[in-house]
């Protein structure tokens, strides 16, 4: 169906790496990354231009825009949002904001094809837990359930390897002190049953794949928890949100006909200046 083909441009500037990708539907056309963490403002348009050229497209060919809304670095995230929302407005095209956790979840799933392919299909979902270091000694995470294989047109279906799976978020987002993370993980597992607060009653025989950028700061805490409970597996490689996975999230949102626009950064905590208003 020709009118279903959508060119997607995604910018992720929420971390020290600036990642920009162009996709056609779920297929990646080009992706470029700049690791010069303090120079997003300087590099963003040049990188955007090069990514478009590599995909042999111009800005006018883009049908859908996507951007990482965070949680992430405050200033970095705003650079990407400012550029994307202005581009989308001028090009008169829809734009979608994606939560960092969603991008990590897709990224971790895609990067761990072997892990994913072992579980679904035997009534055992695989669980993916992107876990972010959000400073102030806190970690921010949520859970995603990857269930049985789906046909490729399923609105929540992502391709991993040569198969397609349904990915859905389970429960809410959690903001936990790093010292309480181990307790939280242990509390989820009683005799091999996983209980995700706010999720369904429990998972038997499931495994949780933990990934995200939390390993550099809290690698030991997580490794300790994982060594005590063999239901946890670790992905230490997926440490930044890549724009190619952002584009998959954007594609899924566009396909589900979610309302576009209204791009406002996601912050994990309420901002209280000077420790509160003094009278």
């Amino acid at each position: 169906m020709a009118d279903d083909i959508k060119n997607i441009l995604g910018i992720d500037s929420s971390t020290g790496r600036l990642s920009i990708a162009v996709s056609r539907n779920e297929k990646l056309l080009s992706e470029m990354t700049d690791c010069d963490s303090m120079k997003h403002m300087v590099n963003i348009m040049g990188l955007l231009d090069r990514t478009l050229r590599k995909a042999k497209l111009t800005i006018g060919d883009i049908d859908v825009f996507g951007v990482n809304l965070g949680p992430g670095d405050f200033t970095g995230t705003r650079i990407g949002i400012s550029v994307i929302k202005t581009l989308a407005w001028l090009e008169r095209k829809p734009s979608f904001g994606i939560n960092s956790l969603d991008i990590y979840a897709v990224g971790i799933s895609r990067e761990n094809e072997k892990f994913i392919s072992r579980y679904p299909g035997r009534d055992v979902p695989a669980l993916v837990m992107p876990c972010l270091d959000v400073r102030k000694s806190e970690v921010y995470f949520s859970f995603y359930e990857i269930t049985a294989e789906a046909d490729k047109k399923h609105p929540s279906g992502i391709e991993i390897g040569d198969r397609s799976y349904i990915i859905n978020k389970v429960g809410g987002n959690f903001l936990v002190k790093n010292t309480e993370l181990k307790g939280f993980l242990n509390g989820m597992t009683v005799k091999g049953i996983l209980n995700i607060p706010g999720g369904i009653d429990g998972y038997k025989n499931s495994k949780v794949l933990i990934g995200g950028n939390c390993f550099s700061s809290y690698g030991k805490t997580i490794s300790d928890a994982a060594s005590q409970n063999n239901i946890f597996q670790l992905d230490k490689k997926t440490t930044y949100p890549r724009a190619r996975y952002l584009n998959i999230c954007t594609y899924l949102k566009a396909a589900r006909k979610v309302e576009s626009g209204n791009l406002i950064p996601v912050y994990v905590r309420e901002f209280v200046p000077f420790g509160g208003i003094k009278k």
Partner: protein, 367 residues
């Protein structure tokens, strides 16, 4: 910091990989087509966009103020400012285009403040301006906020010309500039501590009046006797053109601590009027001295504090006495606005001075 290095050589078209400009023909052919500049300004707490025709006609000037939000804290909170900018930026630009009544395709260039200011705030405006430049394939012009303030009066008096002393006085800046006939700008003085507007805000907060402090103290002063307390007039005879308002603020605080009745309802207007008189006296005297020293006959006052009724009155009175023309733009051009950014952008545009899309933002910068 040598910002000018980033400005692409005068008159040369950037043949780099970022943009392909095709507008030079317009100038070369001597075609007298109208030039439309989109201005964007987000250096502090106001999100502003404007469309300026031919460098002097303001077709639209939109200002989305955050005063109410920052009022709770008695001053601008940088993190809140950038959070609010990012929420409204494209809506403000869109409104400026809509209100201007012109088609977006007519815009010749986008001009944006990239220095000096709050980094988090500047990034939002410059990011949007880069996207506009990239998408519409028009040149990007990054300008200095303070220089734009000096250009604000051109919008009112297109024939004003150079050869004047410029006083930029606001919540963030208090600086004196010598602008020669060729519009070469030289800073001759600046505040060594608080800006005048900052002192107003801090005093208003101390007296529990609210935010922004300028208009509140100004209103209160009109009811009071300005000779009630003889406050110091800091650096009035310093021999240079620098300012200082921190000590005046401290003087007021010490006086009220010694004598609590000064803050009573009966006396507070006298207190405010006396404080205001000191500020106004220093600003007017030093600016007029600068005009005499450099032998110029014109003074331009801009920035948020130029809205102060006493400052306007005193400048006009003293200017009249000493035969010096005083230019104070109307309120909407004194405060932070994007029309002045568009005006300066126009002059850059006709000079062929553009920036490439690598341009960065700077918290501090001289003109």
């Amino acid at each position: 910091m040598d910002i000018d290095k980033e400005i692409i050589n005068k008159g040369k078209i950037d043949k780099g990989k970022y943009t392909k400009y095709n507008f030079m023909n317009i100038i070369k052919n001597g075609d007298r087509k109208d030039i439309y500049i989109l201005g964007i300004e987000t250096s502090c707490d106001d999100t502003c966009a404007a469309v300026v025709r031919n460098g002097s006609e303001v077709l639209s000037s939109i200002v989305s103020s955050q005063d109410e939000i920052h009022g709770k804290y008695g001053g601008v909170v940088p993190e809140i400012a950038s959070r609010k900018h990012i929420e409204v930026i494209e809506m403000v630009i869109n409104e400026a285009i809509q209100k201007s009544g012109i088609d977006f395709g007519k815009i010749n260039a986008v001009s944006v403040t990239n220095r000096p200011g709050l980094i988090g705030s500047l990034l939002v405006g410059v990011g949007a301006a880069k996207a506009v430049s990239f998408s519409a394939n028009i040149p990007l012009i990054a300008v200095n906020h303070l220089e734009a303030h000096l250009y604000s009066n051109i919008l009112e008096n297109p024939d004003m010309g150079g050869g004047f002393i410029g006083l930029i006085v606001s919540g963030g800046h208090t600086s004196l500039y010598l602008v020669d006939n060729g519009w070469n700008i030289k800073e001759i003085g600046h505040t060594v501590d608080d800006a005048a507007g900052e002192a107003y805000d801090k005093i208003a907060r101390y007296l529990g009046l609210g935010y922004p402090g300028g208009p509140l103290i100004d209103a209160l002063s009109r009811k009071g006797d300005s000779s009630y307390i003889d406050f110091p007039k800091p650096m009035i005879d310093s021999g240079d053109f620098n300012f200082s308002f921190s000590g005046l603020k401290t003087a007021l605080i010490y006086r009220t601590k010694k004598d609590k009745t000064l803050m009573s309802e009966k006396n507070i207007s006298g207190l405010a009027a006396s404080f205001q008189r000191s500020v106004v006296e220093v600003l007017t005297e030093k600016t007029l001295k600068a005009a005499r020293r450099f032998g110029v006959k014109k003074i331009l006052v801009s920035g948020g504090v130029a809205a102060n009724s006493e400052l306007r009155k005193e400048f006009l009175r003293k200017g009249g006495e000493r035969n010096i023309e005083i230019y104070i733009p109307p309120l909407y051009l004194c405060m932070d606005n994007a029309a002045m950014v568009g005006c300066l952008g126009h002059h850059r545009y006709i000079d062929g001075r553009f920036n490439d899309l690598k341009v960065d933002v700077y918290s501090r910068s001289d003109i």
